[in-house]
Symmetry: C2
Subunit: 209 residues, 2 copies
Amino acid sequence: MIDPDDMSRLAQYSHRLAVMAGKTFIQEGEPANDFFIVTSGHVKIFALMPDGRRQITGFAQSGDFLGLASGATYGFSAEALGPLALCRFSRTGLNILKREFPDIEHRLMEEASRELVQAQKRMLLLGRKTARERLASFLLEQHHRSPTREIVINLPMSRTGIADYLGLTIETVSRTLNALQREKLIAITQVTQITLLNLPALETLARGG
Amino acid sequence: MIDPDDMSRLAQYSHRLAVMAGKTFIQEGEPANDFFIVTSGHVKIFALMPDGRRQITGFAQSGDFLGLASGATYGFSAEALGPLALCRFSRTGLNILKREFPDIEHRLMEEASRELVQAQKRMLLLGRKTARERLASFLLEQHHRSPTREIVINLPMSRTGIADYLGLTIETVSRTLNALQREKLIAITQVTQITLLNLPALETLARGG
DNA sequence: TCACCGCTTTGACATGGATCAAGGCGGTGC
DNA sequence: GCACCGCCTTGATCCATGTCAAAGCGGTGA
């Protein structure tokens, strides 16, 4: 999302930062002093309730911004899914940058737009779709992520991750995937690898009829 | 959100537009050629499924932007809740404006940030909260909207609106409100007017314990 | 005044998904 | 090879919310 040329200029205003796998490096509610760009690895973005209920609101990977959804404090928590590398900008540094490189604001804006579109789709999914529809939507989302539109998809997360992403329990995820397999819409080749056997049917299901 | 001074400069690049109450003036999936600023009235922003399931993703009122969450096509539909006045900008006009008044991009960015924070809260609500928690969150949101923090709140929408906003049915909304009344957390003074009797308890409930 | 209409409430019942509780299964270390 | 451990699956049951149906109830117009 950021081209390498800008990247090096940006680097003057930023600190490189490595994060261990599994570390929660942004805590919801803390002062949002920093802004990040992911340079390698994957990040899980989520919100927690006091009793432990978790909603994953998205993921970020290399090139993605982290911290757009922030006022005075962070509105989310973020955890490294594996070893992670980041560029960190202070908010004030970022503001200087925006003045110096107006293009940056465009890029931020584009990313924010994309995230907002994504967020609205997820609100529809979480508020109105059934478990089957959620799983179908999820599988197709993974499918579309692949540049070659592979019908064999490798799930980038565990059942717990899927459940927290879709607003379900792990049991429902497991049962629903098996139901889709019984109906020959998918084949579960390995625990984290699924083959999409009937794309049109999955698409119809995902959009709800 | 836009100051009157800028407003008049912006006006050169925009067309004023009046919309009748109830009219759906943005259809999800149509080419996102325009961008809007609400100048008076209220807008309901929502997504629909083919069988009629509806998820309201937000509302916009005077001063708010409409169209941030758009790629090539609109990712949502928008309906006038009452008589409505808008400024319409063509996308290309907006891009010219951005160059001419860099401040605009800042404002857009701020609004986008706010919307993203809001969206993440709603994903948690829709994915993980119970009906009671959703209603408590909703009532407090209305409460916070009032500049004077009135504990008597006037619901700006019907039961159907609340249900579609919270991902519930109208029956559940009705029953849950009555349950909260029985427990003396609220008093339903009129159908669309509710008094918050126990703010701390509502806040605890809304955040889930 | 009364009938009608849309919205809301209430009741009875159905059900999708959650919860609780065993197993199964694959990977790792001894 | 075997025991352990984390994750996943499967089964039994429960329950919050949805669905279906029937009254209220307030506003409007004849």
